[in-house]
């Protein structure tokens, strides 16, 4: 498979995932998008292995690894902080017990927190994608990706 064909496939799968997300919301069934997403990513990984005109060597691999590692270093801190905050909200609620009477007005509600957490996770993931691109650009510049020579 050519690299450009792979990018076309990537776009197509992305559109399919958006469609699956819509169907999941309409049918109120989270399993559809969860299974669909895993299958889509699996398909992309398999397709990526068949690319024949991929230009990669030890330097580009090192740039990818360094950018990935730095992104993970930042990501786990952000993700853990948000998760801790969410856990505090979760443990502050009555945990499925009947609502006590005369609760203070600012007492955390217990219904839709899981869904909100999912949205925060998605926003974080989008930020991480930009962070990864930033680190990639930094390391690519550092290791001479866009340098030119007199040749």
């Amino acid at each position: 498979m050519k690299q450009n064909t792979f990018y076309l496939l990537l776009g197509l799968i992305g559109l399919l995932e958006v469609g699956l997300f819509g169907i999941s919301v309409l049918l109120k069934n989270p399993l559809i998008i969860t299974a669909g997403f895993i299958m889509g990513i699996g398909l992309l990984y398999i397709a990526r292995m068949t690319i024949t005109d991929l230009k990669e060597d030890e330097r580009s691999t090192m740039i990818t690894q360094k950018a990935g590692f730095r992104t993970l270093e930042v990501f786990w801190v952000l993700f853990f902080a948000v998760s801790l905050g969410s856990a505090v909200i979760g443990f502050s609620t009555p945990l499925g017990l009947p609502h006590p009477k005369n609760m203070p007005p600012d007492f955390p509600r217990d219904e839709p927190h899981l869904g909100y957490f999912g949205i925060i996770q998605m926003i974080l993931l989008c930020c991480i994608a930009f962070l990864y691109i930033g680190f990639r650009v930094y390391y690519a510049r550092k290791y001479g990706e866009w340098d030119s020579d007199e040749e």
Binding site: K55, D57, E58, R59, S60, K142, Y143, G144, E145, D147, D149, E151
Partner: protein
């Protein structure tokens, strides 16, 4: 790490692209090594030295001042 790849390329009348193809890397990698922005792995250093028919020490010189 300093290196004399550019000198050896000139001696063999080779472009960066041609050398890159011969040893299986991209032209940018050869350029980055020549400019001292990237230190190649031992394997790649051996490939380059073997290609030019010399020892690694003749091409690559360890620069203590520049080492991380």
């Amino acid at each position: 790490m300093k290196n004399k790849i550019k000198v050896y390329r000139a001696m063999h009348d080779m472009t960066q692209e041609a050398l890159a193809q011969q040893i299986g890397v991209t032209r940018q990698t050869i350029l980055a090594i020549e400019k001292g922005k990237y230190d190649p792995s031992l394997e790649l250093a051996f490939k380059i030295a073997t290609f030019f028919g010399v020892t690694i020490e003749e091409i690559f010189v360890y620069d203590e001042m520049k080492s991380p």
